[in-house]
Symmetry: C2
Amino acid sequence: MITVRFFLKFSSDTRIGLGKVRLLEAIGTTGSISAAARALDMTYRRAWELLNHMNKAFGQPLVTGRVGSTGGAELTDLGRDVIARYRRIEADTQALAAPHVAALEAVIVADDSGNEGA
Amino acid sequence: MITVRFFLKFSSDTRIGLGKVRLLEAIGTTGSISAAARALDMTYRRAWELLNHMNKAFGQPLVTGRVGSTGGAELTDLGRDVIARYRRIEADTQALAAPHVAALEAVIVADDSGNEGA
């Protein structure tokens, strides 16, 4: 199976892809950086680093909240906008890529080990 | 500045993105894996590994040629098809993402260090 994945690459070299968008979404859902990190099976420190990279890339915060707090984090308008635009580009990209993906999947020669279907 | 980049992700976890597509294109242009590797500033060994990952993902070759040879490599029909489809998805994705990218670029708060414009 083939899937199409994309990311936004900033001139600062920061990348915003599915992982960071899922983190933003989890913060929106849980209202907490630590709860979001747990839900995504990453450390609080790692979640904070990812958020810090995004905040720096835009020069303004995507999430507000007290550092080290166990609650009280929330998405800014920019954070919500980034999620919405990412998911919109993703849906449109999946749709336009679908016939190409299907054509390429059709030529994959099955692996005898069966791994390709896993 | 923000650019949109994408890649094809296989269930085997192989990814085909801009780097591998550029390698295929360089082989098509130079007719040689070693010349293509030089043009892209990578080792022959690295180029061969990337090709091997792609060949395995599809279960058939994207490039034919003698291993270790300094010439005689050429793209298969599949290799050419992968390049064409990748570049087509890329062009379409850039076009549909353009208004979103412009909107996000407009909210970037300039870094005093000027790094964002570098």
